[in-house]
Subunit: 101 residues, 3 copies
Protein backbone atom coordinates (compact mmCIF):
# COMPACT_ATOMS: atom_id res chain seq x y z
CA UNK A 1 0.00 0.00 0.00
CA UNK A 2 3.05 2.35 -0.01
CA UNK A 3 3.85 4.45 -3.06
CA UNK A 4 6.92 6.59 -3.70
CA UNK A 5 5.89 10.16 -4.50
CA UNK A 6 7.34 13.67 -4.31
CA UNK A 7 6.37 16.18 -1.65
CA UNK A 8 6.44 19.63 -3.23
CA UNK A 9 6.60 22.55 -0.77
CA UNK A 10 6.01 26.15 -1.83
CA UNK A 11 6.69 29.07 0.56
CA UNK A 12 5.36 32.41 -0.67
CA UNK A 13 3.89 35.77 0.26
CA UNK A 14 0.33 35.27 1.47
CA UNK A 15 -1.11 37.29 -1.43
CA UNK A 16 -0.17 34.43 -3.76
CA UNK A 17 -2.14 31.81 -1.78
CA UNK A 18 -5.14 31.44 -4.11
CA UNK A 19 -3.07 31.82 -7.26
CA UNK A 20 -0.78 28.99 -6.16
CA UNK A 21 -3.73 26.69 -5.45
CA UNK A 22 -5.04 27.46 -8.95
CA UNK A 23 -1.62 26.57 -10.33
CA UNK A 24 -1.75 23.22 -8.50
CA UNK A 25 -5.26 22.53 -9.82
CA UNK A 26 -4.08 23.10 -13.39
CA UNK A 27 -1.67 20.21 -12.76
CA UNK A 28 -4.64 18.03 -11.66
CA UNK A 29 -3.61 18.17 -8.01
CA UNK A 30 -6.66 17.45 -5.83
CA UNK A 31 -5.16 17.54 -2.32
CA UNK A 32 -2.87 19.92 -0.45
CA UNK A 33 -2.00 21.20 3.02
CA UNK A 34 -1.60 24.88 3.91
CA UNK A 35 0.26 26.34 6.90
CA UNK A 36 0.91 29.88 8.09
CA UNK A 37 4.59 30.61 8.49
CA UNK A 38 6.92 33.54 8.94
CA UNK A 39 10.29 33.75 7.33
CA UNK A 40 13.13 35.72 5.96
CA UNK A 41 14.65 35.53 2.50
CA UNK A 42 17.94 36.83 1.19
CA UNK A 43 16.66 39.46 -1.21
CA UNK A 44 16.44 42.41 1.15
CA UNK A 45 13.09 41.36 2.53
CA UNK A 46 13.05 41.42 6.30
CA UNK A 47 11.08 39.23 8.67
CA UNK A 48 8.35 41.77 9.38
CA UNK A 49 7.69 42.40 5.67
CA UNK A 50 7.46 38.70 5.05
CA UNK A 51 5.31 37.96 8.12
CA UNK A 52 2.13 36.13 7.22
CA UNK A 53 3.61 33.96 4.51
CA UNK A 54 1.96 30.78 3.41
CA UNK A 55 3.46 27.31 3.03
CA UNK A 56 1.62 24.92 0.73
CA UNK A 57 2.56 21.31 0.11
CA UNK A 58 1.19 18.47 -1.96
CA UNK A 59 2.18 14.88 -2.75
CA UNK A 60 2.51 14.15 -6.47
CA UNK A 61 4.31 11.99 -9.03
CA UNK A 62 7.88 12.89 -10.01
CA UNK A 63 6.70 14.15 -13.42
CA UNK A 64 4.03 16.43 -11.93
CA UNK A 65 6.54 17.63 -9.33
CA UNK A 66 8.96 18.75 -12.03
CA UNK A 67 6.18 20.49 -13.96
CA UNK A 68 4.98 22.36 -10.87
CA UNK A 69 8.49 23.44 -9.85
CA UNK A 70 9.21 24.72 -13.35
CA UNK A 71 5.96 26.68 -13.57
CA UNK A 72 6.44 28.20 -10.10
CA UNK A 73 9.98 29.24 -11.04
CA UNK A 74 8.94 30.68 -14.40
CA UNK A 75 5.99 32.62 -12.99
CA UNK A 76 7.25 33.90 -9.63
CA UNK A 77 11.02 33.85 -9.22
CA UNK A 78 11.67 37.14 -10.98
CA UNK A 79 9.30 39.31 -8.93
CA UNK A 80 8.38 37.41 -5.78
CA UNK A 81 10.08 35.80 -2.78
CA UNK A 82 8.94 32.28 -3.58
CA UNK A 83 10.80 29.13 -2.56
CA UNK A 84 9.88 25.72 -3.98
CA UNK A 85 11.51 22.40 -3.17
CA UNK A 86 10.93 18.68 -3.56
CA UNK A 87 11.45 15.68 -1.24
CA UNK A 88 11.00 11.92 -1.61
CA UNK A 89 8.11 10.50 0.42
CA UNK A 90 6.52 7.10 0.86
CA UNK A 91 2.76 7.56 1.06
CA UNK A 92 0.02 5.23 2.21
CA UNK A 93 -3.16 5.37 0.06
CA UNK A 94 -1.85 7.90 -2.52
CA UNK A 95 -5.13 7.73 -4.46
CA UNK A 96 -6.83 9.98 -1.89
CA UNK A 97 -4.11 12.66 -1.96
CA UNK A 98 -2.17 14.56 -4.56
CA UNK A 99 -2.37 14.43 -8.33
CA UNK A 100 -4.72 12.15 -10.21
CA UNK A 101 -1.98 11.34 -12.78
CA UNK B 1 25.85 11.44 16.79
CA UNK B 2 23.63 11.22 13.67
CA UNK B 3 21.12 8.42 13.26
CA UNK B 4 18.98 7.55 10.23
CA UNK B 5 15.31 7.45 11.19
CA UNK B 6 11.93 7.86 9.53
CA UNK B 7 9.81 10.99 9.91
CA UNK B 8 6.16 9.92 9.92
CA UNK B 9 3.65 12.69 9.19
CA UNK B 10 -0.09 12.27 9.76
CA UNK B 11 -2.61 14.88 8.52
CA UNK B 12 -6.13 14.38 9.87
CA UNK B 13 -9.36 16.01 10.96
CA UNK B 14 -8.80 17.75 14.29
CA UNK B 15 -11.27 15.47 16.08
CA UNK B 16 -8.74 12.63 15.71
CA UNK B 17 -5.92 14.53 17.44
CA UNK B 18 -6.00 12.73 20.82
CA UNK B 19 -6.76 9.35 19.28
CA UNK B 20 -3.74 9.63 17.01
CA UNK B 21 -1.45 10.53 19.92
CA UNK B 22 -2.78 7.44 21.76
CA UNK B 23 -1.98 5.37 18.66
CA UNK B 24 1.59 6.72 18.67
CA UNK B 25 1.97 5.95 22.40
CA UNK B 26 0.92 2.34 21.79
CA UNK B 27 3.94 2.11 19.49
CA UNK B 28 6.16 3.42 22.33
CA UNK B 29 6.60 6.81 20.71
CA UNK B 30 7.56 9.38 23.35
CA UNK B 31 8.01 12.55 21.32
CA UNK B 32 6.01 14.29 18.58
CA UNK B 33 5.27 17.70 17.10
CA UNK B 34 1.78 19.03 16.35
CA UNK B 35 0.82 21.81 13.92
CA UNK B 36 -2.49 23.35 12.89
CA UNK B 37 -3.04 23.19 9.15
CA UNK B 38 -5.82 23.61 6.64
CA UNK B 39 -6.16 21.46 3.57
CA UNK B 40 -8.22 19.90 0.91
CA UNK B 41 -8.48 16.23 0.00
CA UNK B 42 -9.86 14.55 -3.06
CA UNK B 43 -12.82 12.74 -1.55
CA UNK B 44 -15.44 15.45 -1.90
CA UNK B 45 -14.31 17.27 1.23
CA UNK B 46 -13.81 20.97 0.59
CA UNK B 47 -11.36 23.31 2.23
CA UNK B 48 -13.83 24.87 4.66
CA UNK B 49 -15.03 21.48 5.92
CA UNK B 50 -11.46 20.41 6.47
CA UNK B 51 -10.35 23.68 8.09
CA UNK B 52 -8.80 23.13 11.48
CA UNK B 53 -6.95 19.94 10.61
CA UNK B 54 -4.02 18.72 12.60
CA UNK B 55 -0.61 17.60 11.38
CA UNK B 56 1.38 15.36 13.71
CA UNK B 57 4.87 14.08 13.09
CA UNK B 58 7.33 11.92 14.94
CA UNK B 59 10.79 10.46 14.30
CA UNK B 60 10.98 6.67 14.65
CA UNK B 61 12.80 3.57 13.41
CA UNK B 62 11.86 2.10 10.01
CA UNK B 63 10.08 -0.81 11.68
CA UNK B 64 7.98 1.41 13.94
CA UNK B 65 7.25 3.68 10.96
CA UNK B 66 5.81 0.77 8.97
CA UNK B 67 3.74 -0.39 11.95
CA UNK B 68 2.29 3.10 12.50
CA UNK B 69 1.48 3.63 8.82
CA UNK B 70 -0.27 0.29 8.63
CA UNK B 71 -2.32 0.91 11.76
CA UNK B 72 -3.32 4.41 10.61
CA UNK B 73 -4.39 3.03 7.23
CA UNK B 74 -6.33 0.13 8.74
CA UNK B 75 -8.12 2.29 11.31
CA UNK B 76 -8.86 5.52 9.44
CA UNK B 77 -8.65 5.25 5.64
CA UNK B 78 -12.15 3.89 5.13
CA UNK B 79 -14.06 6.59 6.99
CA UNK B 80 -11.73 9.54 7.47
CA UNK B 81 -9.65 11.95 5.39
CA UNK B 82 -6.32 10.90 6.84
CA UNK B 83 -2.99 11.12 5.02
CA UNK B 84 0.15 9.43 6.34
CA UNK B 85 3.59 9.48 4.77
CA UNK B 86 7.20 8.68 5.61
CA UNK B 87 10.51 10.43 4.88
CA UNK B 88 14.15 9.62 5.58
CA UNK B 89 15.76 11.89 8.17
CA UNK B 90 19.16 12.12 9.84
CA UNK B 91 18.62 13.04 13.47
CA UNK B 92 21.00 14.31 16.12
CA UNK B 93 20.43 12.79 19.59
CA UNK B 94 17.57 10.43 18.61
CA UNK B 95 17.30 9.12 22.18
CA UNK B 96 15.43 12.24 23.25
CA UNK B 97 12.84 12.07 20.46
CA UNK B 98 10.62 9.45 18.89
CA UNK B 99 10.29 5.77 19.69
CA UNK B 100 12.21 4.08 22.46
CA UNK B 101 12.83 0.98 20.25
CA UNK C 1 17.75 24.87 -12.11
CA UNK C 2 17.45 22.19 -9.40
CA UNK C 3 20.08 21.86 -6.70
CA UNK C 4 20.44 19.15 -4.04
CA UNK C 5 20.57 20.71 -0.59
CA UNK C 6 19.82 19.75 3.02
CA UNK C 7 16.74 20.93 4.87
CA UNK C 8 17.67 21.42 8.51
CA UNK C 9 14.76 21.54 10.97
CA UNK C 10 15.16 22.68 14.57
CA UNK C 11 12.32 22.28 17.11
CA UNK C 12 12.90 24.14 20.37
CA UNK C 13 11.36 25.99 23.27
CA UNK C 14 10.14 29.38 22.06
CA UNK C 15 12.58 31.24 24.31
CA UNK C 16 15.41 30.03 22.05
CA UNK C 17 13.88 31.51 18.88
CA UNK C 18 16.14 34.55 18.47
CA UNK C 19 19.24 32.72 19.69
CA UNK C 20 18.72 30.01 17.07
CA UNK C 21 18.33 32.57 14.28
CA UNK C 22 21.60 34.16 15.46
CA UNK C 23 23.22 30.72 15.31
CA UNK C 24 22.01 30.28 11.71
CA UNK C 25 23.33 33.73 10.75
CA UNK C 26 26.76 32.83 12.10
CA UNK C 27 26.74 30.02 9.51
CA UNK C 28 25.94 32.59 6.80
CA UNK C 29 22.35 31.40 6.45
CA UNK C 30 20.25 34.18 4.92
CA UNK C 31 16.83 32.54 4.64
CA UNK C 32 14.62 30.50 6.97
CA UNK C 33 11.02 29.65 7.75
CA UNK C 34 9.50 29.72 11.24
CA UNK C 35 6.35 27.92 12.43
CA UNK C 36 4.58 27.72 15.78
CA UNK C 37 4.17 24.14 16.97
CA UNK C 38 3.29 22.24 20.11
CA UNK C 39 4.94 19.02 21.09
CA UNK C 40 6.06 16.56 23.65
CA UNK C 41 9.54 15.24 24.26
CA UNK C 42 10.76 12.27 26.23
CA UNK C 43 12.68 14.04 28.97
CA UNK C 44 9.91 14.56 31.48
CA UNK C 45 8.60 17.66 29.77
CA UNK C 46 4.86 17.46 29.24
CA UNK C 47 2.82 18.91 26.41
CA UNK C 48 1.61 21.96 28.31
CA UNK C 49 5.12 22.93 29.40
CA UNK C 50 6.31 22.64 25.82
CA UNK C 51 3.35 24.47 24.32
CA UNK C 52 4.39 27.39 22.20
CA UNK C 53 7.48 25.79 20.74
CA UNK C 54 9.08 27.03 17.59
CA UNK C 55 10.10 25.09 14.50
CA UNK C 56 12.72 26.70 12.29
CA UNK C 57 13.99 25.30 9.02
CA UNK C 58 16.48 26.37 6.42
CA UNK C 59 17.92 24.96 3.19
CA UNK C 60 21.72 24.72 3.15
CA UNK C 61 24.67 22.77 1.74
CA UNK C 62 25.59 19.41 3.31
CA UNK C 63 28.67 20.95 4.94
CA UNK C 64 26.74 23.82 6.52
CA UNK C 65 24.04 21.36 7.61
CA UNK C 66 26.57 19.28 9.52
CA UNK C 67 28.10 22.36 11.12
CA UNK C 68 24.68 23.64 12.27
CA UNK C 69 23.61 20.28 13.65
CA UNK C 70 26.83 19.93 15.59
CA UNK C 71 26.60 23.42 17.06
CA UNK C 72 22.95 22.97 18.02
CA UNK C 73 23.79 19.67 19.71
CA UNK C 74 26.81 21.08 21.54
CA UNK C 75 25.00 24.19 22.77
CA UNK C 76 21.50 22.94 23.63
CA UNK C 77 21.23 19.18 24.05
CA UNK C 78 22.38 19.11 27.66
CA UNK C 79 19.91 21.62 29.08
CA UNK C 80 17.13 22.10 26.54
CA UNK C 81 14.51 20.03 24.71
CA UNK C 82 15.88 20.72 21.26
CA UNK C 83 15.49 18.39 18.28
CA UNK C 84 17.46 18.89 15.08
CA UNK C 85 17.29 16.78 11.93
CA UNK C 86 18.31 16.87 8.28
CA UNK C 87 16.57 15.81 5.05
CA UNK C 88 17.57 15.74 1.38
CA UNK C 89 15.76 18.29 -0.76
CA UNK C 90 15.86 19.38 -4.39
CA UNK C 91 15.48 23.13 -4.52
CA UNK C 92 14.69 25.48 -7.38
CA UNK C 93 16.70 28.73 -7.29
CA UNK C 94 18.78 27.96 -4.19
CA UNK C 95 20.62 31.29 -4.46
CA UNK C 96 17.63 33.12 -2.97
CA UNK C 97 17.32 30.81 0.04
CA UNK C 98 19.60 29.29 2.63
CA UNK C 99 23.33 29.67 3.06
CA UNK C 100 25.48 31.75 0.78
CA UNK C 101 28.21 29.04 0.77
Amino acid sequence: MKKLLKKITIVAERVLHEELLELLKRHHVTGWTVQSVTGEGSSGINASDWEGSVQIYTLVSAKVADDIMEEVAAKYFENWSVVVYSQDVEVMRPKKYGSSD
